[in-house]
């Protein structure tokens, strides 16, 4: 075993890349759940985003267009969920699960002609001399744009929920849709917008996998990332910065265990492979174990069907 082959700087830099898909999907789902909707279709929206982004990028030759296509694809699929749950009042859990299955199948169909193709490369952002800084340069200033966008999204969502009136209305809708309706807010519109945002974010996360992280298209390539994103939102107590911690923790352990595998650590591979899931959930459970106050963060109307008649 040769642990010296692991460079901690590269490890940190690569954990940011590894975490970005989950981070994007999770921050989108956080907004959806804050509005009181439980969309279990994150995995499905991610994989549809992955193939939409991949196809658009390959056909147009532009990764940027690819990411836009991915966001639109994810949002379009989420609208299917939105219309079913908000207008036809279908059960959110069942519809979300169906959305995942549907997304997996749809993406496989679209992806038929794209197996084995390389997508156009996404360049890193050029920070000029900053990138040459010792330590910080490697960690912070040599990434592609999406990494920074995902961090910006976390900050943006945090500020939106905390300081803006629209964010307050969104939280109010998620807290008690009946009271929000009584005050004259359009619960359905607010929720549809949140669902669309969640879909777009999940789509971006999926495209990050297929265009940058892997980068190629294989069926079922999200491999459960959407479910991890869902778990991170819950265990992060619906707080944006904790979502960041959870996602980076998961990405970090993933990268670390891959490095350990490569270094030949004398532990069965299966244990290493499962370690990111176990460690992430353990840590987040401990963080959120303080009941009482922590449970306040949960949107009280989460998953409940709203009908304006009452």
């Amino acid at each position: 075993m040769d642990l010296s082959s692991i460079n901690p700087l590269v490890l940190i830099a690569s954990l940011m890349v590894a975490s970005t898909p989950i981070l994007l999907a999770a921050i989108g789902e956080l907004v959806v759940e804050k509005s009181g909707v439980l969309n279990l279709g994150v995995e499905g929206m991610m994989i549809v985003g992955a193939i939409c982004g991949f196809a658009v990028a390959v056909e147009s030759g532009s990764p940027a267009l690819g990411f836009i296509g991915a966001a639109l694809g994810g949002a379009a699929l989420s609208m299917l969920f939105g219309i079913l749950t908000q207008y036809f009042l279908s059960n959110q859990v069942a519809t979300g699960l169906a959305l995942t299955l549907f997304g997996l199948g749809l993406s496989a169909l679209i992806g038929q002609g794209y197996i084995g193709i390389k997508p156009p490369a996404t360049g890193d952002v050029n920070f000029g001399p900053l990138a040459d800084l010792p330590v910080l340069g490697t960690i912070l200033f040599r990434h592609d744009l999406m990494v920074y966008i995902s961090l910006g999204l976390i900050a943006g969502v945090w500020a939106f929920l905390k300081y803006s009136r629209a964010g307050l209305i969104l939280r109010a809708v998620g807290e008690s849709h009946d009271a929000a309706h009584a005050l004259g807010y359009n619960v359905r519109t607010v929720r549809l917008m949140a669902i669309g945002f969640g879909g777009a974010c999940a789509g971006l996360g999926g495209a990050y996998l297929s265009l940058i992280r892997v980068p190629q298209w294989t069926e079922g390539m999200t491999a459960g990332a959407g479910w991890i994103a869902l778990a991170i939102v819950v265990f992060a107590s619906w707080r944006p910065w904790r979502v960041l911690v959870g996602a980076y923790l998961f990405g970090g352990v993933t990268v670390l265990q891959l490095n350990l595998q490569a270094a030949g650590l004398d532990v069965p591979v299966q244990y290493l492979s499962m370690s990111p899931y176990i460690i992430t959930i353990l840590v987040l459970v401990i963080i959120s174990s303080n009941r009482g106050r922590a449970s306040l963060a949960a949107p009280a109307a989460l998953g409940r069907v709203f009908h304006a008649s009452s």
Binding site: L168, E175, D178, G184, Y185
Partner: protein, 505 residues
């Protein structure tokens, strides 16, 4: 009526299968306190929802300050100068006071400025409130202050209040009335909905009485007696429950220093609750909602386990037993929330009868259900308690509140309880059904059952209890004989006015 603020003419609203309002007309003048009276289902709430823009009328006209008024949303109503305090608070527990207030305003100022305004207005009207506290941590009376202040900050010309006093202590009611009188003096018109006729007589200048969606009369509340108004509401004579006095028997239910932690993060934990109820006695437990009533019921019914020696039934320690074991011994309970707690909304009445009656009415043998027995048990409840429903096959959800309440209470009474605990037995029930339920509870006590009645309706408690105690922040006051208790004494037992002060401007 050239100077009227709001005029309503021929308003009609029909829902599938029911006409909620039909040809309703009345008018309110500036500075007038106008009462809307009526039983549950008389259409008062639908009417004010139309005025507040939540529901659109099918026919009829409204004018506000002489201008046609057709609000299509609450935003529009608030813009015109109409504000409303809701019966079921339209508040968000996990948000703080300032955020809740901001949500009810059209153009809220920045948080810091809003907090200052809240402090100012709350001081002026004697309703102290800290803008940074979470609403979930507030008492019912404080929550109502949030709603009122939310309305006051918009300088409304017409303030609608839907059952504002149902959750307040007598002292809090008094202070609320001072605030309202002050508003009246400033020229604000009030549309006031309440069941409590004495309050209406004390506060209101005029009253419109609704029955089954129609206006059946108007009256001057100061010149009419409460009984006259009640009979106009009901459309028939009222029977006051009667009882024969007799000596209470042995101690049946005995709570010794019961302390239970609340399961709900916003709930109130019970602290050192000690009480004894004798056979044939009704113990009334008052108190403002959210002071441990739900927790006390859960601790008595067995939903929350307690130390085994803290709860005794006929001397037997039962604190550790669950609800079914307690039912088998004869300690029955009917919780407050009809749909979802006392009854399963989507199950039929037969199934609901079986849910609590299975053990005592012997409807289970070798793990199999006896549907025939369950059905006849449900039928006997329907018959003896005059539950208006097509039959026991109907879903609980399909019954009106009063009918379902009669069913839920009747279901426990017919199981011949040794001790019965009821929480808010007549909440949201019309006057005649309420009188029936109270009579049934008195008859049960006369037959030797120990009854605990938890309620927020003080008139009800005074009417049926032998002894009265009050819950305040999870503590139970020492029970006193109900006869001869004054309103002031009761208010003090309930914890007084919760730091309220009188308006000073």
């Amino acid at each position: 009526m050239g100077d009227s603020l709001l005029t309503v003419e021929g308003l009609r609203k029909a829902y599938p299968g029911v006409v909620a309002n039909d040809d309703v007309s009345f008018s309110v003048k500036p500075g007038e306190v106008h009462a809307l009276l009526g039983e549950n289902g008389a259409g008062k709430s639908t009417l004010v929802k139309m005025i507040y823009g939540l529901v659109r009328p099918d026919a009829g006209r409204m004018t506000f300050e002489g201008v046609p008024y057709e609000p299509s949303s609450p935003h529009e109503a608030r813009g015109t100068g109409v504000a409303m305090v809701f019966q079921h608070f339209s508040l968000f527990e996990a948000l703080n006071v300032a955020e809740n207030v901001a949500l009810g305003m059209e153009n809220p100022p920045k948080q810091r400025q809003l907090s200052r305004q809240i402090r100012e207005v709350s001081e002026t009207y004697g309703l102290p409130l800290d803008p940074d506290r979470l609403v979930g941590d507030l008492s019912a009376g404080e929550r109502q202050r949030v709603e009122i202040i939310r309305c006051l900050l918009q300088d409304p010309k017409l303030l609608i209040m839907d059952e504002p006093t149902s959750v307040l202590t007598p002292q809090e009611v008094e202070i609320l009335f001072e605030t309202l009188n002050k508003l009246r003096a400033e020229g604000t018109a009030l549309l006031y909905i309440s069941h409590k006729l004495e309050e209406i007589r004390a506060l209101c200048d005029s009253a419109t009485i609704l029955r089954l969606g129609k206006v059946v009369g108007t009256c001057d509340p100061r010149a009419s007696s409460a009984r006259q108004m009640a009979e106009m509401m009901v459309g028939q004579e009222l029977h006051t429950p009667s009882r024969e006095m007799k000596e209470p028997g042995e101690i049946v239910l005995d709570l010794a220093a019961l302390s239970v932690k609340s399961a709900n993060p916003f709930g109130t934990s019970l602290k050192n609750v000690t009480l004894q109820v004798r056979a044939g006695e009704v113990l009334g437990i008052g108190g403002v909602a959210g002071n441990g009533q739900d927790e006390l019921l859960a601790a008595l019914s067995g939903e929350t386990p307690a130390p085994s020696d803290a709860v005794k039934l006929n001397g037997q320690e039962i604190g550790h037993l669950g609800p079914n074991a307690r039912r088998a011994l004869g300690l029955l309970a009917a919780p407050e929330e009809r749909l979802g707690h006392a009854a399963a909304p989507d199950m039929s009445l037969t199934e609901n009868a079986l849910l609590t009656g299975a053990i005592r009415e012997d409807m289970v043998s070798n793990g199999f259900l006896n549907w025939g027995k369950a059905r006849s048990f449900a039928e006997s409840i329907i018959r003896e308690f005059d539950v208006r429903t097509p039959g026991p096959g109907n879903a609980a959800r399909a019954l009106s509140g009063g009918n379902l309440q009669k069913f839920v209470i009747g279901r426990e009474i017919l199981q011949r309880p040794v001790a019965l605990v009821v929480n808010q037995p007549t909440w949201g029930v019309d006057a005649s059904a309420a009188a029936q339920i109270r009579q049934a509870l008195l008859d049960l006590a006369a037959a030797g059952c120990a009854v605990i009645c938890i309620s927020q309706d003080l008139d009800e408690l005074m009417e049926i209890s032998d002894r009265f105690a009050a819950l305040n922040e999870g503590r139970l006051s020492a029970p006193k004989p109900a006869k001869g208790l004054t309103v002031d004494e009761i208010g003090l037992m309930m914890g007084g006015a919760h730091d309220l002060e009188v308006a000073h401007v």
